[in-house]
Amino acid sequence: MPRKAAKGKKTAGAADLLKELGPDTLLDWYRKMLLVRVFEQQAAKAYSLGKIGGFLHLYIGQEATGTGAIAAIRDEDYVVAAYRDHGHALLKGMDPKKAMAELYGKVTGCSKGKGGSMHFFDAEHRFLGGHGIVGGQIPLATGVGFKIKYVEGDEVVLCFFGEGAINQGAFHESMNLAALWKLPVIYICENNRYAMGTPLERASSLFDLSQKACAYNMRRDVVDGMDIFDVYTKVSEAVKAARQDKVPTLIEARTYRFRGHSMSDPAHYRTKEELEEQMKHDPILTFPRKLKELGILTDEQDKAIQAEVKRVVQEAVEFAEKSPEPDLSELFTDVYAEEEV
């Protein structure tokens, strides 16, 4: 599947978006995208040192999708993600300190260390997880959409999942419900080509995934998930449709993960050549290059942004390392909601 949509719809180019949004916004996107990348590189290091345990799934390579999509919504909108969730959480506003501390299993983490990498959560920023069961978050996001419609709000929900999740019943039940009830949910399938070791072609009878929406009479789109401008433009259209007309959309974002499925996966199921080819589109290189072409980012500014992001991540690491482990009594807190008496 080519990355660009065949449908010939013209995406607003980088220059148009610069005119529309101004340089500060684009530079802010770059800062955020870089934060996600550097945060995860640091997490990978800590994992190798045994400071983070369990499973760690990195978003490295896919950042343009999360960054562009979340840039297209407001603070009061909701984001629901799968288990590859660090990027989405940070982009929705989670404090990197809380995120890193959660990876370290510390009590200062976003779930007091009880959830770990796959289950980030930040109610204040309306980031509703981080979900370890593939596809399990899709009905939940649909329910949040129903809530919005019920109370006649104008927020929207972005629901992220991998292409592997499309083969779960939960996905299909949710699609139908959202289309039937006209819910303001944008379902973003991040097709990074592999579900663990299984390429899409061996798991799905249909490769052009947004066509799944046709079965539910739902709006659909395809975006180049390595191109932040394309992501932003098309997600913005879907957000408009959701906000104004309460219409859901299924978007396939064609992207790629550069690392293995998790830290323990050497990814022998793909060739070195394939990876190298894909890495030419690395958004963390192509995006700043574009910003420089547009004349809004100088090499010195770039260096300054990189240094600033590194500092933020370093502070997050120090915070996580210095934070205490949860007290054993924490095991029993929050199992049930407190009764109000």
């Binding site: 345990g53 510390k106 009880k114 959830g115 990498s117 069961i133 579900a195 070791g197 299984t198």
Partner: protein, 325 residues
């Protein structure tokens, strides 16, 4: 006898059954080309081909449902659920279809559902569960949970040969940590429904299964140094469980602790304790005690997770209370 890890024993059991019987096929996520998330089926696709080692999409409901459909017509599918936690997605197919078809139509449903369960690997709340009690409640299902390599192989082979749906909970913490001698005879099986005394004793019995068999054995060793002889009875099969072996052991020791890694409330231990109370009340010198994982989800934080697990110290403590009663 060869010395195998718990994981190798499961692999070997499957490989032997596949060689013996062409109707045995495997279905699961990344079990073929990738060799399985834990590499239990590594190399299987090379030996048996993609027709019998079937990589599926991430669709647990359809995986088990397809296994049931094939089983109606002579196949003996082994469905792998990558982590036991995800078995909830297939719950409907297991509990409604697999468990009741023979009762309703008289068709046997010889499927095995393998599910790596258990905590101890910092997997967090959705990669650490022990869901066996969700299934021991269901008539029509058999449920096994081996603790040693020999039992793992023998029960796997027995499960494949059984004409009923068998849920096979293999503890992932034991995969590479437990080694033991395993019979090489092709027809070696461990019969379903038969418990095993893993350590004889006279003063108290720990009735347990799966990972906590090892915890119980260590606790028994500690107490032996203090002069108390604790019997460890490994249930191996949780439904139908070995009533006679339980009664025999209670007759010998008169004191029972039921132990499992799964959370205590509503767990398998509740059933065993009730059975003993109903059937051997006069034999008891103390109330049947239970010990399990604590009654919370399994947390990611390594120290909290360790605290959640029923440790050897906790087992020793419970046994002391039991012995002193």
């Amino acid at each position: 006898m060869a010395v195998l890890t718990y994981l190798q024993a499961i692999s070997e059991g499957m490989r032997e059954e596949m060689r013996r019987d062409e109707s045995v096929v495997l279905l699961g996520e990344d079990i073929g080309v990738y060799g399985g998330a834990f590499k239990v089926t590594k190399g299987f696709i090379d030996e048996f081909g993609p027709k019998r080692v079937i990589d599926t999409p991430i669709s647990e409901s359809a995986i088990v449902g397809a296994a049931v459909g094939m089983a109606l017509y002579g196949f003996r599918p082994i469905a792998e659920i990558q982590f036991a936690d995800f078995i909830t997605v297939a719950y409907n197919q297991i509990v409604q279809n697999a468990a009741t078809i023979h009762y309703r139509y008289g068709f046997p449903v010889p499927i095995v559902v393998r599910a790596p369960s258990g905590a101890g690997v910092h997997g967090g709340p959705f990669h650490s569960q022990n869901p066996e009690a969700l299934f021991t409640h269901v008539p029509g299902l058999k449920v096994v949970a081996p603790s040693t390599p020999a039992d793992a192989k023998g029960l796997l082979k027995a499960a494949v040969r059984d004409d009923n749906p068998v849920l096979y909970f293999e503890h992932k913490y034991l995969y590479r940590r437990i080694k033991g001698e395993v019979p090489e005879d092709d027809d070696f099986t461990v019969p379903i429904g038969v418990a095993d005394v893993k350590r004889p004793g006279r003063d108290a019995t720990v009735i347990t299964y799966g990972s906590t068999v090892h915890t119980a054995l260590q606790a028994a060793e500690d107490l032996s140094a203090e002069g108390a002889e604790v019997e460890v009875l490994d249930l191996r099969t949780l439904r139908p469980y070995d009533e006679q072996a339980i009664l025999d052991s209670v007759g010998r020791t008169n004191r029972v602790l039921v132990l499992h890694e799964a959370s205590k409330t509503g767990g398998v231990g509740a059933e065993i304790a009730a059975f003993i109370t109903e059937n051997a009340f006069e034999k008891l010198d103390a109330p049947v005690m239970r010990l399990g994982g604590l009654d919370t989800p399994v947390p990611y934080s390594p120290p909290l997770e360790e605290y959640w697990l029923p440790s050897k110290e906790r087992v020793v403590g419970a046994l002391r209370r039991l012995l002193e009663y």
